[in-house]
């Protein structure tokens, strides 16, 4: 496999649900592990749960131990990790994150705002479909994890909420 083919392969795998990909062809061997691989690994470790657990886990999950969180979310700010018992509002889809419903509109929420179950917190646009995301938890917004008008991944943490 040449460099270009490997790049194509990585791109293709990123668009799937695969956690791990291995391939062997004569003396050539490649192994690719995705974010999902590391997520499943670290989710399963502390829990005696079936493999399907991460899939059916509800969107807001309590950050358990700082150690686990560090492994899952490497991009997360260190300050946020240390605060235990915060609730997360995650992205249910891949798309673009917007804090307001239009360029001239105020943001749905700011740091310090109280949200309750059903409060609109942001919009995620995916392929010209606009999704108003409602909070499933109640509490105070303590951190906004994503910049306005930037891409978000499936299950990426958008907001941290203090219950």
């Amino acid at each position: 496999m040449n460099y270009k083919e490997i790049t194509e392969l990585i791109k293709l795998i990123n668009r799937t649900d695969l956690a791990e990909f291995k391939m062997k062809d004569k003396d050539f061997e490649i192994q690719i592990r995705t974010k999902k691989y590391h997520k499943e690994e670290s989710y399963q470790a502390p829990m005696v749960a079936p493999i399907s657990a991460p899939v059916i886990a509800p969107t807001p999950t309590i950050i358990e131990a700082p150690k686990t969180a560090a492994k899952v979310e490497t991009s997360e700010a260190p300050a946020a990790k240390s605060s235990a018992n915060l609730l997360e509002i995650k992205s249910p889809i891949v798309g673009t994150f917007y804090r307001a419903s239009g360029p001239d509109k105020p943001p749905f929420v700011k740091v310090g705002d109280e949200v309750s179950k059903g409060s609109a917190v942001c919009i995620i646009e995916a392929m010209k479909l606009f999704n108003e995301i409602e909070s499933e938890v109640s509490g105070k917004i303590v951190k906004i994890m994503v910049e306005d008008a930037t891409p978000v991944e499936y299950d990426q943490v958008l907001f941290l909420v203090e219950p």
């Binding site: 668009r15 249910p92 889809i93 479909l129 108003e132 995301i133 409602e134």
Partner: protein, 252 residues
Amino acid sequence: MQPCSKIIDKDYIFYFESIDSTNKFILDYISKNKPNHPIVAYTDYQTEGKGQIGRYWESETSKNLLMSLHFLPEKLLPENQFNLSMYTALIVATVLKSIMQTEVKIKWPNDIYIGDKKIAGILIQNVLQGKCIKNSVIGIGLNVNQTTFSDFIPNPTSMKLITNLTFEISKILDEICDLFFKNINSIYEYKSLKYNYISKIYSFREWKKYQKGEVVFEGMIIDIEPSGRLILELKNGLAESYNFQEIKLVFN
């Protein structure tokens, strides 16, 4: 008879002479009233007709169809929401084809085209809580009897411009509403939706110029991913997939 009343309880059909936006009306209505049944709203004039974020939909008073349909997709997962886009585009294309007896195409992701011109636009706004689409509001703007458009609107057309005939807007509203709700379970049928969608895609399997940033290149639509990403074949033989707004078709 009031349009849509065959399908929707008349208490949930809302008509306005003028309103900011029918999508916005329904979104506000459902957040206050949390209805568990579908709603239809239509108007003769919108003061803040919505396109994509920050864009507007322009229409002369009483000349065009401006409507929003609301329903509760219940079992549709957020990651399958492109089905809603394909479904709505297919419904509008089917109704237009039956009225106008002409070929109607869907320009990816969901603009409705006749020839090389845009005749209708669709704007979908969902309300999501966790992994559930609680509400879906589907706005449709169809150019019916309007014959002149502002210069800044790219390549518009209307039913009247194409046929020289004047159409009864409420009848078209009724037909779209009827077909939309009668076939609503098709939103769960990805394979048949995609098959029908692909068959109506504008410029499908035709080499066209596309623009990504400053770069213009040739590409040919060969497929659509389940998420709605467009797959183009390139002149170097490779296939590449693109997000909405990442590339645009260049009109000659």
